[in-house]
Each structure stands twice: as C-alpha cells, then as structure tokens.
Symmetry: C3
Amino acid sequence: MAPQYAQSLRFRLLPLLFFLQTGFIVVFRYVEIEQNVQTKQHAFTNYYAEFQDVHVMVILGFGFLATFLVRYSFSGAGFTLLVAAMAVQWAVILNGVESMYHRRKIGINMRSLVVAEMCTASSLVAIGAVLGKTNPVHLLLIALLEISGFVLNGWLLQTFLKVQFLNTIMLLHIFGAFFGLMLSWVLYRQGSEQQHEKEKIDRKTGLFSVMGTLFLWMFWPSFNSVLVEVDHLDRGRNLRAVYSTYLALAVSAVTAAGFSVLTSPQGKLNLFHIQRCTFAGGVAIGVAMSAVHLPWVAMAIGFAAALISTLGSRYIKPLMLFAFECHDTCGVLSVHGLPGILGWMVQLLLQIADSDDLTTAVRFAVFHICTLLITLSLSMILGLITGFLLKCDFWRPPQNKKCFDDQAFWEFPHLAGKR
Amino acid sequence: MAPQYAQSLRFRLLPLLFFLQTGFIVVFRYVEIEQNVQTKQHAFTNYYAEFQDVHVMVILGFGFLATFLVRYSFSGAGFTLLVAAMAVQWAVILNGVESMYHRRKIGINMRSLVVAEMCTASSLVAIGAVLGKTNPVHLLLIALLEISGFVLNGWLLQTFLKVQFLNTIMLLHIFGAFFGLMLSWVLYRQGSEQQHEKEKIDRKTGLFSVMGTLFLWMFWPSFNSVLVEVDHLDRGRNLRAVYSTYLALAVSAVTAAGFSVLTSPQGKLNLFHIQRCTFAGGVAIGVAMSAVHLPWVAMAIGFAAALISTLGSRYIKPLMLFAFECHDTCGVLSVHGLPGILGWMVQLLLQIADSDDLTTAVRFAVFHICTLLITLSLSMILGLITGFLLKCDFWRPPQNKKCFDDQAFWEFPHLAGKR
Amino acid sequence: MAPQYAQSLRFRLLPLLFFLQTGFIVVFRYVEIEQNVQTKQHAFTNYYAEFQDVHVMVILGFGFLATFLVRYSFSGAGFTLLVAAMAVQWAVILNGVESMYHRRKIGINMRSLVVAEMCTASSLVAIGAVLGKTNPVHLLLIALLEISGFVLNGWLLQTFLKVQFLNTIMLLHIFGAFFGLMLSWVLYRQGSEQQHEKEKIDRKTGLFSVMGTLFLWMFWPSFNSVLVEVDHLDRGRNLRAVYSTYLALAVSAVTAAGFSVLTSPQGKLNLFHIQRCTFAGGVAIGVAMSAVHLPWVAMAIGFAAALISTLGSRYIKPLMLFAFECHDTCGVLSVHGLPGILGWMVQLLLQIADSDDLTTAVRFAVFHICTLLITLSLSMILGLITGFLLKCDFWRPPQNKKCFDDQAFWEFPHLAGKR
C-alpha cells in the first residue's frame, strides 16, 4: 500500500504546486510595489515592525502550535509553512481584484501584506479542525477556498452592510472556525469516536506547541492593533487596542489555568487548555475591539472568553464528536469560534449601551446581527461545499491508520540510507 | 496519596486565582489608558518595539529557561506564564498606588508596562531558586510578595536616599536572588544533599532551555536600555546602554565557555554554564550602567561577571547546599546575585574615580553602600518571612518524591483517555 | 583515549579563548561609540529594530539550524553562540582597521554592528560545511580566518573594482560556501563515503532545526534590506528589497516542497530540503538585489533558486562526496553557493538588459565577472590554506568515531554526579 499511496501524493501535489505557483508568478506581473502611504499610523510605530509581528504569529505561532501531535510534528510545522507561503500570494491577488478591475494594477504595500497574512491566519484556523486527517493537497485546496470565501464575505459585508473593513477582517476567527467545523463534519471518518492511537502529545511535542502558543500570546497585541486606523478625534485608538489585548490575554491565561484545574477530575492542569484557551481573550477582544474603551472591560472579556473556551474544550469538544460526528483536532470551535461569537455579542451590547437614542441602537443591532448571520452561513456553506469537493477519492485521503502520522508524507532519515 | 494531593491543588489554587483575578479586575476600574508621553526616548526608537523585547524576555526567555529539568518542563514554561500573567497586573497596581493616592486614578502606558514586566522579572528570578520544590500556589504567593517587597524597596530608596528610579529598578537581580535564596533556605527539605533523581536535564529539555537563554541574551540590550532617559547633555545615553550590554554579553559568552572548560575535571563544557553564565555580563552591566562610558570597560565587566558566575556555579552552589543547607535550583546566587553585586561595586569604583573632589566621592559611596545594604536586608528579611509563611502544611507542598515532576500538576495525555 | 582527548581541548581551547578575548578587550580601548548617523534610512524604520532582526537570524537562526544532528545538538547551538560572540568582535575590529589607520579610533554604531553580524553570518556558512567533524578550536580559527578573508575580499573589490559596499557584503554566501567546501575537502577523513552512524536527525532535533529555519525565513527581508541605502531618485529602495525578498522566499518554500517530492523515490517530502532550500530564494535575491525592480522577477528568482538548491541537495551533494571526496554536512554548496551564483548571474543579465548602450553593458559585465572570479579564487585559496593549517594533529581533531557527537565536548548530567 505504501508505495501506491506515496505515488499518489506526487501526482496530485506536484501538478497543483507548479500550476498554482507559475500561475501566481504570471499574475504578479500586474503587481507593483507602492511606496508605503504615510498614514497617521506611523506616528505610533512603524508598520514594518508590526508586520513582522504578524508574520511571526502566522508562520511560527500557528506553525509550532500545530506540532503538538506526537507523530505529526514535521507535518504540523512544514505544511503550515507550505500553506502559508501559497496562501499569502493568493490573498494578495484576491484582495487586489477590485484594484485590478479599475486600474489594471494590483498595488502591494505593508498594509496589503498584513491583510494577506490575516487572511492566511483565517485559513490556518480552518485547517486546525482537520489537521492530521488530510494530505497536503487537501490543505492547499482548503486554504485557497477558505481565503476566497473569507475575502468574498468581507466584500459582501463592506458593500451591502457598510461594515468597516477592520470589523470584517476580525471575523477571521469565526469564519475560519465554522468553515473548518463543517469541513471536518463532511470529512468525518468511521471509527473516529475512539481516540486515534496517534492522536496524543508527548512531553517534547507539547513543549514545541507551547512555544507556538507563547509567540501567539506575546504578539497578539500587534495583531489586534496593526490595522486600527488612528483618527483625529481619538488619537490613541491603536494604543488602546494594544493595552486592551495585553490585559485581556493576561487575564485569559490566569482564567484558563483556573478552569482547567476546576474541571479536571484530578484537579490538575491540562496542557491543551494552556496551549489554546490562554489566547481566547485575544480572539474575543479582537472582534469586540471598536467598542472596548476601558481596561477593566477588556479584562472582563478576557475572563469570559477563557471561561467558555476552557469549558468548550472540556465538554463541547467530546459532545461534538459523539453527538454530531464532528472531529475537531485543534478544538477550533472552542478556541476561535466561541470566543469570536462572545466578542461579537460584547460589541453588540456595548454599542447599544453607548447609543444615545433607541433608533441608532436598533439600527446597529440589526446590521450587527446580519453581519454575524451572513458570516456564519457563508462560512458553513462554503465549508460544506469544500468538504464534498475534497471527499472524493481523487485526492486520495490518507487511510485511517495513516492519520496523524508523518510517515506517510516525509522521508525518514533513520529509515532512508541517505539524506 | 495522589488523589489526595491532587485535590489539594484544586482547593488551594482555584480560590486564590479567582479571588485575585476578580479583585484585580475590580481594581482596574481605576486604571485609565494614558497617551504615550512623547519623550526624547522616541528619538531613539519607539517604545512599543522595546516593550515587546522585554515582554519576549520575560515570557519566552524566563519561561523556556525554566524548562531544563527533564520531568518538569511543562511546569517550567506553564507556571512562568501563569505567574507572569498575574504578577504583571499586580505590579501595575502597586506602581500606581502613589498616583491612586493623589489622583484617584492609575495611569497605564508603555513605560508603566515595561516597569511592571521588570518587577515580574524580579519575581521570576526569586522563583528560580525554588523551582521544582513548590506548587503553583507557592509560586503565585512568592511572586506577589516579592513584587510587593521590590516595589517597597524602590520606594524607600527613591524617597529617603534620592536614588534614581533607573538605579532602583536595576537592583531587581540582587533583590530577586537574595529573596529566593532565603526562601529556599527556609523551605529546605531533609535529604536534598543528595541530588534528586529527577533534578537533571536531558538533550531535548537542555535545548529548550538554551532557546530561552538565547532569547534573553539577544534582547538584553533592550532590557538595559529601555528605561534609560535621554537628557540634553548626553543624547546617546540609551544607545550607549545598548552597545555596552551587547559587548558585555559577547565577552560573557566567550568567558563562560572558557571557565567552564577550565574548571571541568574532564576539560569539557557544561551546558548549565552556557545556559546561565553567558548572560552574567548583562546583569552586571545593567546595575553599573550609569557609570559605564567606554566599550572596553563594559567588556571587562562582562569578563569579570562571567568569571564569578561560572566559578560560583561550579563551587559556591554545592557549598551553599552542604554548608548552609540552601538548595538553589537555577543557581540564582551565581547568575543574578553575584554579578549584580559586582555591577554595584564597579559602579561605586567608577563613580569615585570620576568624582572631582573627595566630598562628593565619600557622599556618593555612603549613599551607594546604604542602597545595597537596604536592598539586601529587605530582600533577605522578606524572603525569610515569605518562607515561613509558605512552610506551613496548609499550602500542601509537594512530597519529596514528587519534586521536579510534572506528574503532580498536569494531566498526562498518554495516561488520560481523553484530552 | 577519552581523558587524553578531553585534556587536549582544555590546553588548546582555553589559551586561545583567553588570549583572543583579552586581546580584543585591549584593542577595544581604541573603540568609541558614535551617535547613530541620521541617514535617510531612518525614514523607513529605525536601525535598532533591524539590527535586532539580523542578530536573531545569526544567533538563533543559524544556531538552531545547526542542531539537526541527533547527537550533536548542544554543540550546534552552543558552538554557534561561542563562535558568533567571538567573531562579531573580530569583525568590528577588522572593519575598523582603515579608520584606525586614519583616525586612531574605531567607531562603533548600529550600522557597523550589522556589518559585523553579516561577516559573522559568512563564517557560520563556512562552518556549516565542516560541522560535526571539528572541535571548537577549529571552529574559532575557521571563523577568524574566514572573516579576515571576507573583509579582505570586500576591500579588494571596493578599492580596485569600485564595487559598491552592499554588493560586496552580499557575496557572503558565495565566499562562505566555497571557503567551507575547500576546507572540508582538505579535512576529508577516510571512511566518510559511508554515512556516519550519528549523522542523522530525529523527530525532535529536526523540529529544533525547523525552528531555526523559520527564524531565518521570517527575518530574511530585514537581512537583505537593512544595508540598502535610500537615495533621492528612488526612495523606496529598501522597501523594494523587503517585498522582493518576502515574495522570493514564499515562492522558494513552495518550490522546494514541490521538487523535494518530485525527486524523492517515494514521492515524499524531505525535511532537509524544507529546512534549507526554502531560503535559497533569499540568498539569490540578496546577491541580485540592486538589479531586481519587479515583484514577479523576484518570484521567478525564488523559483529558480529553490529549484537548483533542491536538485543540488539531492544529486550534487552525494556526487561531491563520491567524486571529489568532499563531505558537506549542511550542504552549503547547494544552499548558499549555487543560489548565490544564480543571483550573481541574474544581476548580470538584468543589468545588461537595462543598459542603454553596448559599452556600459560590456564594461559592467567585465567588472561583474571579475568580482565573482576574485571572490571565488580568494575564498577557495584561503579555504585551502585554512584547511592545511588545521589538518595538523596539534589541534587534536576528534577521532572518526567521536564525530557528530556531543559527548566529546560536553559534560553530560546523567553521567556526571553533579551539575
């Protein structure tokens, strides 16, 4: 079976990579470098440093977060790099479609790269749900389709609901999580109710994964603040985003540890919660950002987000598996989906409380609810469609016993005679 | 015994976490975000980038430095995150007490966060001495008490001896180290003369720890320079701090390797020295900063610091254990305490040499010696008190055979059926 | 044998370290700190942040990239730190020789430190070829001699061929690679045709090495852009360097994965290619930088560089071993040498295509070809000389069976009774 399977990877992955990569290079003939626009942003900190922070989060943070499976760590880090390198190019192209239509040129600047990295982050969230049960061809197709859907979603919201750009981009957690969930539901395999023998962590892969966590945790304030525009009335908006995210993350880390101990049968900490639920506050505060003005509100959001994230990881994740036959490897529902929706709710409540009259409040609420409904339906429908596309045997999914195993995709030096 | 112990963690850790965290959120209602004050500092580099460097050092540097014990690596990284997330909030509150008293408000800005992170670093130094022999409840209490003592010490020195703020904050190494030592002396366990069977490193945890070392080593110039104020007479003061620290660290790394080989019975390198003594120069130069003007002086300080740090790790550490019954897991005396005192001495000598007349020199010497004496006595007394507080069985310290072991605090996935 | 060998390390390494380090401190008495010159560069981003990026690449990137050998990971990371700490001081001195001659002073500023780190990177490339087959004394001597040669090469090119400073410094990959190859050829050991039993990676060291890769990959745009001078006619030159490198690296990662699968007998990915060939695009674009103006050209260069790098790692590396008896541990020929020469060729072609008349084109071509010939001959000759110097038994090279093994140089805690 092994050589047959291995061949299939070559004849599927290779044409896909070359077709896409040469295609991208051709399309990039229409891309031109723009001088960085001198915005107010620059008063705060230069864009390049913050771009680097986001870059580190996407490549190193998500990459090493995905190394936690004991026999799948090369794939976790390697496939994330491969997918991200491809996805970022695709996102630059998609985000430039409108400019291409009007000016026959796609501009590239620091801000457009940051946006492209955030779209990539969205696809990496989706991939988290199916990690280990797919091959790299699947992952590439998922990433490209997810980013297309996410960009479409942003365009719809901006065009028809006049949602601000920043608010649409921060829906990346919700979009990615529900896209990934539906995908994982369609790709469900018989026999997944029992935990796969290789779906576990060991001391060292756990620690690599903690490293990814820490990089996400440390640079999340940059992630949430980099696209915040400074306006004349409120000059410290991006600094406020930094402080809010920082405090929410600190509270999240403490709360996740607390609830992890509380819900444990033996009163012990669970590494999975420390790895993932510690940054639930960053997710929630990112979505709610525009409405959060006070530090203690940010901290309370961080508390609530870590609470539902930890409880979700402990109780909803197994429930999803048994009741809905949906296996969620990285727990994206609890880590990105639920905290994202919490952030959305908090934004709704705070905006209504801030409104002067009832009309504005109702109007905002209607638009805000429509935003969520459109995002949820689009992500779930596209997730389903992607799932059915990938379910066919043409893409040769890994056999059940080869799941969560690097062996299927990587040459192993202690087996191979030569590197 | 195991379930009994495990329960105790829940009923001690959980109330503490929730009480503190909700208390902090309530206190943070008095915290308001300040626009970053436009100081001269900004001419050099923006504050946010340097704040990130310090943040990376505290979370990732100290966190992974503590993963070196073979069976205690989850605890090393995880507890550091937990303690730091809590300690930083406490430090923001404590540093704002004065402002709270006068203005009923605590301001938060980049500089106050940097100061809070440095207080946290001080508590992480202290924790290094008792790592592996305590539970997370101990660690949280140690951190909160240590930070309180450190802030009190700074306040005393600034108020009564008119010591500059920067000089008081750089005493963090000395304060943390002696606090930790006294603590460890009080918490001494029978039987610790023999090395604990789990108190050792293996190839992989050693490498994780080296990673932490490198992050500390690389970003130390930011740590030492971020709080240096630029004045009109000497505009490059913070750049000088960067260069001095950079050169001192380079010399430290070389010197630590050299003395490690010299003092080894077999003429080999010792990983522990490479992990810790390489940044002794950064500690010493940080304390002596305001008096160091020439690159070669910085390098000579780096040389001397690495020398006493390596000799201390090799000879004083076992001596402390046998003669004084004080077990120092991370060797904080040799890594932070002695180089800190060296830096203090160098500052004294250089300032005296720079003085024009005898009166200023004597006056400075008296004040400088008082500074050290107050810091040492306060840190040691508070360390003793904290030790006696934590010694009681109410906090349920880990049993001897459970020391240096993650098993007591973490659910292990290969044992547990489900994550 | 063991104690005898161990003693030799002490009596060789120790005098070398102390002689050099005290010598450097003495020379640094002539070093003075310069205020950072306010160049146009600062409009783009401040120098300190980019210096940090390069610093991270050299210490952490190269350091952890060298941890891939299963029993040589302490040495990989530790010796890189030791060598870099020494080499950076030596590079500062060498680069200041001219200024020393004229002004009796060596100035030190952010730019001179960046240049020193790049010279260090060049020596680390050379060391990659002999990693695991040498002792630290060898490595230090190689680094010092390689940097001397590289600085000499730059001086020759600038003085006699009027090559721009940036173009000479970017030859570091070519110089380092061919220096290392010649060195490795001279130091060839009998019996190296068979793969050494310890010359392999395992899951965890492979992952540490991937971490090094990612740090190099993420910060490479800073590496290529930091020394680009902004001029009045073309204000975005350094930003263009950032975008070009970023895109070339993304394409490289995809291409390396593709060709790794294509050339694998089983159609699987090879971790070695993902670790090294993914940044071939960064090497090539760095050399060709001044001639690359369009994003798609950068991407095409990234494609070609990853192609020759992957094919080189797969086919030329074993060929070198069998046909020329040259063992290249890290594959520096394929990873740095060939992509560097590719970049050189692309620069030649693009410059000729951009020229207005034939005379300038021919003139440029002649100078450009001379540049490469001088660099290649100087690097190879110095590599040969260094090799013969180090071949003598005085330096006590490790025995064949001790190659690729930490045991020869490090105290191991599970063997030693006390740390």
